[in-house]
Structure formats: structure tokens, C-alpha cells
């Protein structure tokens, strides 16, 4: 082969995203290039460092391609947070499509140091806890692990006590009662044994409680250095279509995990669209705070929100 791309990410190889999205992407690049591109896959941070460093690793060329959670590096890519706002996203495919379009239109400057291959969000963000949570009142004083800066703000706004810890620490913290619950989408619950450690899951009809944004990013120099035909192969396998595929696939992976929780005899609380209204009202300060922060950074947050809503509606309509 002519080119070897080192793909680095933080989950074990058999987890959903590596297995169902990244491997598919890598295989299809390898096939489309007739084997001239080889993608070496390094799961579980095998190349060293910790997940927040993935972004720097791809910028510096430690890895050629990384998959990472944008929220792991708070403050660096503020515009993407529009998709992390509470009750913003209703469908992962629509949001991933809108995210890509908005990346092309407004976020290229924030991501100027890398070549972005795909942008997507996961399925509905939700709460898994060892007590029943149906209304915002039930959140008072509950110790919950949040996924990103935005989620922590949301938890705090709702009166819960956000507890920060890395993902692998969740099972132990839950089993020891160090935390009462955690926010993650269904899809990751299996790997973290969450259904065995909690009894209740709170999901929301309609818009998602929260969401997390991902990017698949490539080193700029490596991309620019590819011969034109290989560049075309990479381009064909990235962008809008790939982003929608990734968001959709990750969201579809929620189903089996939800089944597993039911099998385990857990109780799933579904907050109806009407009942979610109380949650939206309680979460409103998160929007206000975010808008103020964006203004401070010279970004028109409201415009981003409006555009994201419009693009998601267009996709769904």
C-alpha cells in the first residue's frame, strides 16, 4: 500500500462505535483505494495519552485520524455546543446532517488545525439512576455524573449535584454509591454494565434531554499530502452522507441495549412530551447562560440555534 493511516480512539475495538462505524469507514476506504490506503486501528488509547488529548494528537500528527468527543476539550470548539443544548435534538440523523452543514458554513475556523471527515451526535441522552426520576423535582440533590461541560451545567441548573469522573470510573462509582446515577445514551450502557448497577432509566419522548457531539478528524498535513485520487477516496467516504450514517448507526445501536435493560427487569420511565414541558422550563437557564457565553466570545448563539433548528426541520420534513 502507499499510505498508512493510524486511527486512534478511546473505546475498545468491540464497542459499538468502533465496530459499527469506524471499522466500516476504514474498510470502505481500504476497499475503495484498492488497498493503497491501509487504516491501522488503535482502540482504547493504545497509542498513549488520555481521551482529551486525541484532538492534539491528530493536530500534531501523533495519530493520522482520531474519533473524539468534542466536549472533551471544553472551550475550544464553542459553536458545536449548539447541538449539546438540552431538548435541542430530536433525531440523531437530522442533527448530524445539520451539524455537518453548519460545520461547513461556520465552524471551519474553529477546526482550522484539522481536516474534518465527519460530524455527528449520539442517540437520545438520558438519565440512569438508582432512584425513580420523573420530574425535575426528583433531581434535587441527586449525585449524577455528567458527560460534558454542557451536561454538567444542565444537571446543576436542575438542582442535581454533578460529579465529574472519567467514563471508565462510572461502574465502580455507581456500585459504591459514590454517584446515584449517570447521563449516557442507551448504546454505551452495555459496556459499562449500567443496567446491572441501576434500577431506573429516564428517557424523554420527543426532543433529547441532552446530546454530545463527535468528530472524526484527520491530520491536515497528511490529508493535503495525499495524491489526488486517494484524496478523492477519502472525500467520498466523508462529509454529509457519512455523518448521517454515523449518527444514525450510533442511534440505532440504542435499541438492543434498551432491550437488555428490560430483560434485566429494570424500570424505564418515559417522560411524555407534555410532561417534558416542566423539564424544558427548568432547563431554560442553560440556554440563557450559553447565549451569554457565546456573546462574550463574539458568536451569535441565537442565530446558531435558529439555523440548527431550521436545518433539522428541513431534514426531517
Amino acid at each position: 500500500q502507499d499510505v498508512t493511516l493510524k486511527l486512534h480512539q478511546f473505546l475498545p475495538a468491540q464497542a459499538n462505535v468502533p465496530k459499527l462505524i469506524l471499522d466500516v469507514w476504514a474498510d470502505s476506504i481500504e476497499a475503495a483505494s484498492d488497498g493503497r490506503i491501509e487504516v491501522e486501528r488503535y482502540p482504547s488509547m493504545q497509542l498513549g495519552g488520555r481521551p482529551p488529548e486525541l484532538m492534539d494528537q491528530v493536530i500534531d500528527g501523533v495519530a493520522d485520524v482520531v474519533w473524539t468527543v468534542v466536549g472533551y476539550t471544553p472551550g475550544r470548539f464553542p459553536s458545536t455546543e449548539v447541538f449539546e443544548l438540552p431538548f435541542m435534538v430530536t433525531d440523531a440523523r437530522a442533527a448530524s446532517a445539520a451539524y455537518w452543514q453548519m460545520y461547513e458554513a461556520h465552524m471551519q475556523e474553529e477546526f482550522a488545525d484539522v481536516h474534518i471527515l465527519g460530524t455527528w451526535v449520539h442517540g437520545p441522552g438520558m438519565i440512569h439512576a438508582n432512584q425513580e426520576i420523573t420530574t425535575p423535582d426528583d433531581m434535587q440533590g441527586v449525585k449524577i455524573r455528567g458527560a460534558t461541560r454542557q451536561v454538567n451545567t444542565l444537571l446543576e441548573t436542575l438542582g442535581a449535584t454533578p460529579v465529574g469522573m472519567p467514563v471508565p470510573a462510572i461502574p465502580e462509582a455507581l456500585s459504591k454509591g459514590v454517584i446515584d446515577g449517570t447521563t449516557i445514551p442507551w448504546e454505551v450502557t452495555g459496556a459499562l454494565k449500567v443496567p446491572e448497577l441501576v434500577d431506573y432509566h429516564t428517557e424523554f419522548e420527543g426532543a433529547h434531554f441532552y446530546n454530545v457531539t463527535f468528530v472524526l478528524a484527520m491530520n491536515k498535513g497528511v490529508y493535503d499530502g495525499l495524491p489526488d485520487d486517494l484524496k478523492a477516496v477519502v472525500d467520498e467516504n466523508s462529509g454529509l452522507e457519512f455523518s448521517v450514517f454515523a449518527g444514525g448507526t450510533q442511534s440505532d445501536a440504542d435499541g438492543p441495549s434498551r432491550e437488555a435493560a428490560l430483560d434485566n427487569g429494570n424500570e424505564i420511565v418515559t417522560v411524555s412530551e407534555e410532561a417534558a414541558e416542566a423539564w424544558r422550563v427548568a432547563a431554560q437557564p442553560v440556554y440563557d447562560k450559553w447565549l451569554a457565553e457565546m456573546t462574550e466570545l463574539g458568536i451569535d448563539g441565537q442565530a446558531l440555534i435558529d439555523e440548527a433548528r431550521q436545518l433539522m426541520a428541513d431534514y426531517e420534513g
Binding site: K6, Y42, Q46, L47, G48, G49, R50, P52, E53, D56, Q57, D60, G61, V62, P166, P168, A169, E172, A173, S175, K176, G177, V178, D263, N264, G265
Partner: protein, 495 residues
């Protein structure tokens, strides 16, 4: 040269450097850096990694346990806990043949319960017990060997710094590893006591005796041990009682021992600074090795050596137990030359994938199903008689219980669940075995760190004499490793 070859050549390169007295952390760091340069064909990757790697290695939440436990050990000594332990154990055992030596082992075990390091345990108890052993006419080499061996209980009995490192390297649960180490740790103490009684029987002149002291005095001395108990219960009990994480437990332990030392006057401005200096040295030494290992292991991963190695071993079809014994033997031999932490950091990333790929038959699907079913049948009352009969028949026949029947009695023992348990148990069992063999390395001649530390305290005793006596303890260690390999349940039954 292929990447794989570069990876393989890095082993001899690294060993030559280490044997030429390059500090171990530095040797791994440099080998890893040069390796990265060769494999990636330039210095971009190697240099870029250094931008974040040092900070991210040193700012690890889990590793922050290490300096906290080290500090806790110093405060415990300042608080008089080491001498209280020795006096109590000596009160009960001192009048027996070899009793003062046995008491030293007991005190080491007790101190090991609040100290995470072998060297610190050996050094601390050495300072307390060596003069006493001398006073009662114990032979110098024998006394030193006893304390060096007793020191190894510091990492065997939880809390343990080396176990924390192993847990982080293999992504295992620290609390479960601590729990698994408990019984093997007690067995070690027992084995050393046996070694002492055999030694004094064969060498009657090696130990003096003293008259028994009255029971009242013994109980009084035992009463003085309460701070040790308090610290141990709040640290270890706190972890298992779900009150805090291991890192938090270390913080609680450090603060608790500090307060006790402050209360009895052991902790002053001067001794506090002294504790900082000593903790600083051990901490930085450990973390620099951790850093070197991170750089070296990142390079090895790029060369695919660990994956290729485990694929190769599995494809050879050796019996898992043979592979395990070869690895343990390797540790025993290298333990004579290198210190335990460096060995763990250097070798676990290579050996662990190999061990994980093998099936040791630690858990069995049918057995687990039947155990769960029996327990469920005993507690479930409202079960249809025919369902009950069907399950009982399956148990009697030694057959698998299908999903629907399991659901009827609210159990769910599937292949996936069992595999996950098997993987975890293998990791924990292997971790404890490795811990023990590297800990043996601390007392095997010629390079045994504990022996050096103790021997330095009493220059009158030649090293050779200590070497001879310590073989009895090494023998007891090897017997124990054999027992733990043969009966994994001794390690795993508490989990």
C-alpha cells in the same frame, strides 16, 4: 527493518541500558523515544507526544493514590503506630522460641495494612524491631532476613502501591484487587512465621528467649494499637462500604494518620518537612518510571509486538498453565535483578494480552448457572411445581438451564456474563500471582531492595549472612506461589 523487528530489538537494547546502570525510567523513556523516531520515520510524533504526555501522566487521578499512601505511611510512623504494633505483637509472642522474630512479622503485617509500600514497611519496622531483636540475642543475618521478608507484606496486604499500578495498566477494579490480595497476604505472614520456626529449630543458637510477660501488660499493649485499627477500618472499610473511592480513601488515611501523629506529638514542623522530602523522592522515582513506561509502551503498541506475541503464543497451543508458569519463572529470575515496580510497568503490557487470550477454566457456565439456580430455588416460594421440578432435573443432570427457565426464577447467567467474569477473574488472579513473584524479587539475592535497606541499618552484619538466612523465607514464598497457582479459589473466593 520492519516495525515488528524494531519492537523486538528494543528489548535487548533496553536491558543493556538498564544493566549499564541507566536509571530504569530514563532507559525506558529514551528507548521509547528513539523507537518512536525509528518507527514513525521522524521526530514529529515523538516530540509531539511529549507536549502532553508528561502532564497527562503526572496528573492522573488514580495514580494520585501513590503519594497519598506514601505520606500516610510516614505519618503512621510519626504517630508511633509502628512501635505500638511491634510492642503488642512482641508481648504475645516474645517468650516463644523465635517469638520476637515472629512478632516482627506480625507487626509488619499490621503496618502493611496501613502502608502501601514494601520498602517503607521494611525500613520502618527495621528501625523499630532490629534493636529489640539484637537485645534478645537474635543472630544479625536472621534478624535482617526476617524484617526484609516482613517488609514485603507492605505491598501484599492492601493498600498496595504496586497493585494500584497493575490495576491501572490492566483496567481492573482497584477495590477488587485489594480484596483478592487479602488472603494471600495473610498466607504470606503465616508462611514466614513457619519459616522462622523451622529456622530456629535447625539453628537453635540463632535466637535467644525471654520470660513471658503478664497477660494484663499484654492486653495493655494490644490496646495501644487502636489507631492502626481505626485507620485500617476507615480506609479499607470506606472503600468496601461504598463511602469513597480508593483515591479518596488514601486522602482520608493520610489526613487521619496526620491527625493522630499531631495528637501524640510526633508530627512537628520539622518532621512534616522531613516526610515531604522522603515522600518526594519515592514519588518522583515511581512517577518517572511510570512516565518512561508510558512512552515505551506507546512505542511498543505501534510496533504491534504485544498483539503479535499473544497471537503467537495462542497459536502454539501450549497449555495455559505452562505459559503462566514460564511467565512467573521469568519474573522470579528477573526479580533477582530488578525492582518490582519497574518490572510490572515494563512487562505487564506485554504479558497481560498473552494471559488474557488463554482460558484457565476459572469459571464454568454450567456450574455458575446451577449455583445461581440453587440459591434462587431456595428463596423463591411462588414457583409452579412443574417448573421447579424441571429445573431441579436439569441441575441433577448437569445440563444447561435455558433462558426462559432462568427467567422464571429471576436469574440470568448467560455465556456473555460468564465470559466477562472469567476475564476479570483471570486478570485478578494473574495480578496477585505477579505481585507475589515480584515481591519475592525484593528479597532474593543479589539485588533485593528490602535486603539492602535493612542491611544498611546494621553494618556489623555481612550481607552474605543475610543472603543465607533469607533463603528460608524465599522458600516459603515459592511454596505459597505453588499453592495459589494450584488453587485459584484462595485468591478469588472473596470477590
Amino acid at each position: 527493518m520492519s516495525d515488528l523487528e524494531i519492537g523486538l530489538y528494543s528489548f535487548p537494547a533496553l536491558l543493556i541500558m538498564i544493566f549499564l546502570r541507566v536509571p530504569i525510567g530514563l532507559a525506558m523513556f529514551v528507548t521509547g523515544l528513539v523507537g518512536l523516531y525509528l518507527v514513525t520515520g521522524g521526530n514529529t510524533v515523538a516530540l509531539s507526544r511529549l507536549k502532553n504526555e508528561t502532564y497527562s501522566t503526572f496528573s492522573s487521578y488514580s495514580l494520585s493514590i501513590v503519594p497519598m499512601f506514601l505520606l500516610m505511611g510516614h505519618f503512621a510512623t510519626l504517630g508511633g503506630m509502628s512501635s505500638a504494633l511491634f510492642r503488642a505483637a512482641e508481648g504475645f509472642l516474645g517468650h516463644r522460641r523465635g517469638g520476637v522474630a515472629m512478632a516482627s512479622i506480625g507487626a509488619c503485617a499490621g503496618f502493611g495494612a496501613i502502608c502501601g509500600s514494601s520498602l517503607a514497611t521494611a525500613a520502618t519496622m527495621g528501625r523499630v524491631a532490629l534493636p529489640e531483636l539484637k537485645r534478645y540475642g537474635y543472630e544479625g543475618g536472621f534478624s535482617q532476613a526476617t524484617l526484609a521478608a516482613g517488609g514485603t507484606l507492605g505491598i501484599l496486604i492492601p493498600p498496595s502501591v504496586v497493585l494500584v499500578i497493575y490495576a491501572i495498566l490492566t483496567e481492573q477494579n482497584i477495590a477488587k484487587l485489594f480484596l483478592a490480595a487479602f488472603v494471600p497476604g495473610l498466607l504470606a505472614a503465616l508462611g514466614y512465621v513457619l519459616a522462622i520456626s523451622i529456622y530456629v529449630r535447625l539453628n537453635p543458637d540463632a535466637a535467644g528467649t525471654r520470660p513471658a510477660i503478664p497477660m494484663g501488660e499484654r492486653l495493655k499493649r494490644l490496646g495501644a494499637v487502636w489507631p492502626v485499627l481505626l485507620v485500617f477500618v476507615s480506609v479499607v472499610g470506606g472503600i468496601y462500604g461504598g463511602i469513597f473511592t480508593p483515591t479518596e480513601a488514601a486522602a482520608v488515611g493520610a489526613l487521619g494518620t496526620a491527625l493522630i501523629a499531631l495528637a501524640n506529638g510526633g508530627l512537628t514542623g520539622k518532621t512534616l518537612i522531613e516526610s515531604f522530602m522522603v515522600t518526594a523522592k519515592s514519588t518522583a522515582m515511581i512517577f518517572f518510571i511510570v512516565l518512561g513506561a508510558a512512552i515505551y509502551n506507546g512505542f511498543l503498541a505501534l510496533t504491534q509486538v504485544p498483539q503479535e506475541m499473544s497471537t503467537w503464543v495462542v497459536s502454539q497451543g501450549y497449555a495455559p498453565i505452562t505459559v503462566l508458569l514460564v511467565i512467573l519463572l521469568f519474573y522470579l529470575v528477573f526479580g533477582c535483578l530488578m525492582d518490582s515496580l519497574s518490572m510490572i510497568l515494563l512487562t505487564v503490557p506485554i504479558f497481560f494480552p498473552v494471559i488474557s487470550a488463554l482460558d484457565f477454566g476459572l469459571v464454568d457456565l454450567i456450574t455458575m448457572q446451577h449455583e445461581a439456580a440453587r440459591a434462587a430455588l431456595a428463596s423463591v416460594t411462588d414457583l409452579a411445581p412443574d417448573v421447579r421440578a424441571e429445573i431441579e432435573a436439569l441441575i441433577a443432570a448437569g445440563a444447561e438451564i435455558p433462558r426462559e427457565l432462568q427467567r422464571a426464577i429471576d436469574i440470568r447467567v448467560t455465556e456473555g456474563v460468564v465470559n466477562r467474569i472469567a476475564a476479570e477473574q483471570t486478570a485478578i488472579w494473574f495480578g496477585i500471582l505477579v505481585l507475589i513473584v515480584v515481591e519475592v524479587g525484593l528479597i532474593t539475592p543479589p539485588v533485593g531492595m528490602n535486603l539492602f535497606v535493612i542491611n544498611a541499618m546494621d553494618k556489623a552484619t555481612p550481607m552474605l549472612q543475610t543472603y543465607k538466612s533469607v533463603l528460608y523465607f524465599v522458600g516459603s514464598d515459592i511454596v505459597r506461589v505453588g499453592i495459589l497457582v494450584a488453587f485459584p479459589a484462595i485468591t478469588l473466593f472473596l470477590l
